[in-house]
């Protein structure tokens, strides 16, 4: 009597790309590309070391933030940034609401819908910094360009999210409002607005704290606010002052984020 040995059948997971020729072509292609890409970057060890040296000096500066020497400039920049944030958020919200309604498929006829969607797409395509550069070129340095930039960016953000919210509302509530003989505007304010208003408020507050952060960035390209002060400090190698500004921005953003998340939680 012989015991039958169990047949040994090997197993390996099937490869991601089943065709071995294609698989190896891709692997070799990636390696060759990486080789050429790396050799074109020109990694210069000497420069790296010098950079590290400069970095450590910058860090040393950062460890001793100087709030006092340029406090007036910092204060002016801060106030300008906050003003830009408030003004641009308010303008942005006011413009976003009608555009948001226009961009909701269940609210607007096709031509208006396409127009509003187009506006939103344009606003969302370009990063704030690019828009800021355009506005700085158009209207010169200063907070006006910053306000325009942030307002424009707010529209893309708020109108899009509002429109998507409106598209998901309960149509029965709108229909019921319409049946009473309400006008279009009344139907919107009674049937639609209550359904989207908590989210509208939440998004607006969220956008406020995004705008505060962005106001520091657009300042770097000349659109006013604390970013401009920060940029000046860097170009003068005043790392201690830059450090002070960065700390203030961090604290400010943290505070608004705390407030905004608290309010949004309360809104359910």
């Amino acid at each position: 009597m012989s015991i039958k040995a169990p047949s040994t059948r090997g197993w390996r997971p099937p490869p991601l790309i089943s065709d071995p020729r294609l698989r190896w072509l891709i692997i070799i292609g990636v390696v060759v590309y990486l080789y050429f890409a790396l050799s074109s970057v020109n990694i210069n060890v000497e420069r790296l070391i010098r950079g590290l040296d400069r970095g450590s000096r910058m860090f040393a500066g950062f460890l001793q933030p100087d709030f006092t020497t340029r406090w007036r400039d910092i204060q002016a920049g801060l106030i300008e940034s906050l003003t830009m944030t408030v003004v641009s958020t308010v303008i942005g919200i006011i413009i976003s609401i009608p555009i948001g309604f226009g961009a909701a498929r269940n609210m607007a006829p096709m031509p208006i819908y396409l127009f509003c969607r187009g506006l939103i797409t344009i606003s969302r395509t370009f990063q704030e910094v690019i828009i800021a550069i355009v506005f700085v070129v158009m209207f010169g340095f200063g907070p006006l360009a910053g306000v325009l930039t942030l307002s424009f960016a707010t529209i893309g953000f708020l109108a899009k999210l509002l429109a998507e919210d409106i598209e998901e509302i309960d149509a029965a509530q709108v229909e019921a409002t319409r049946t009473t003989g309400a006008s279009w505007l009344q139907t919107v304010t009674y049937g639609v607005l209550p359904q989207v208003s908590p989210r509208l408020v939440g998004l607006s507050i969220y956008r406020f704290d995004i705008n505060l952060r962005e106001s520091a960035i657009v300042g770097v390209v000349g659109a006013g606010g604390i970013g401009a002060t920060l940029q000046t400090a860097f170009t003068r190698y005043d790392f201690d002052i830059a450090s002070a500004i960065l700390i203030i921005i961090i604290v400010l953003v943290m505070i608004t984020e705390l407030i905004s998340s608290y309010i949004r939680r309360r809104l359910q």
Binding site: E175, T179, T180, G181, Q186, Y190, P194
Partner: protein
């Protein structure tokens, strides 16, 4: 009071929902519209206040022809037609009072409604109706805090504050338990009688329809196939409306009722004979 002439509705999808419906509803009559799902019941009552545009036909509300109205005239005409919905269709985030007062939107200007400055007479009327449906102390509660039956009561108050001539009721009890369903149906029919309204109730529950309506109209595939008394709705007639089925047991419901309830039903029907 209400007269439909050859109402046809073809949806763009090719769906032939109504195939020439003629119907007349006199003042203070409670009429139940029954029929299988997809028979066109919802479409029919929505054609009356033109939430759905009829493809052809004419609708007379007293002397007013509804189909030919422009947008402005239509809004004025809609004020005379109250509507009660399946799943209540209250604006969830508004208060009970705001929901009731929204029935007056056709009568107040935009800014008045925006700031909730409704005329005192409307507010008095609203409180009276809330009292009547038993929700006076809920006036400032948000609508989404109420139970199903309570919500439908608010829906009834919202429809009635319009002081309509005609009440359209779309599946009022579809999402309610049997007891609440009866209470809601009783409330609607009582209030309609108090206010001399013509009522069209679109309903799936045949025994409930027989219990509370004076007249039953059956719709099948967009055509009227029954128009008569609740008693006349025999198994054969039900087959005409819904198709072949064993209807035994369908008529039990009424026999099971207490004598008190039977008396109430008889009372409700006695009020107005069927045309």
């Amino acid at each position: 009071m209400l007269r439909l002439e050859q109402i046809v509705k073809k949806y763009p999808t090719g769906d032939h929902a109504l195939r020439g419906v003629d119907l007349e509803v006199p003042e203070h009559q409670v009429m139940a519209l029954i029929g299988p799902s997809g028979a066109g019941k919802s479409t029919l009552i929505r054609c009356i206040n033109r939430l759905v545009e009829p493809t052809s036909g004419r609708i007379w509300l007293k002397d007013l022809e509804m189909v030919s109205l422009n947008a402005r005239e239509l809004r004025r005409a809609r004020r005379r037609i109250g509507m009660i919905f399946q799943e209540y269709a209250l604006v969830e985030r508004l208060t009970v009072m705001e929901n009731v007062l929204s029935g007056r939107l056709g009568y107040v200007g935009f800014w008045q409604s925006w700031f909730r400055r409704f005329p005192q007479t409307d507010i008095d009327h609203a409180f009276m109706l809330l009292d009547r449906v038993g929700l006076a102390e809920f006036a400032d509660k948000r609508a989404d805090a109420l139970s199903g039956g309570q919500r439908q009561r608010v829906g009834i108050a919202r429809a009635l504050i319009q002081q309509p001539d005609l009440l359209l009721v779309d599946e009022p009890t579809a999402s309610l338990d049997p007891k609440t369903s009866r209470q809601i149906m009783r409330l609607i029919t009582e209030l309609a009688r108090e206010r001399n309204l013509a009522v069209i109730i679109n309903i799936h529950d045949v025994p409930l329809a027989q219990m509370f309506a004076q007249r039953i109209v059956g719709l099948r595939q967009g055509t009227l196939v029954y128009d008569g008394t609740p008693e006349g709705l025999t198994a054969d007639r039900l087959t005409d409306i819904y198709g072949e089925e064993n209807w035994e047991g369908q008529f039990k419901a009424e026999e099971d009722l207490s004598t008190e309830e039977q008396a109430q039903i008889a009372d409700a029907r006695r009020f107005d004979p069927v045309v």
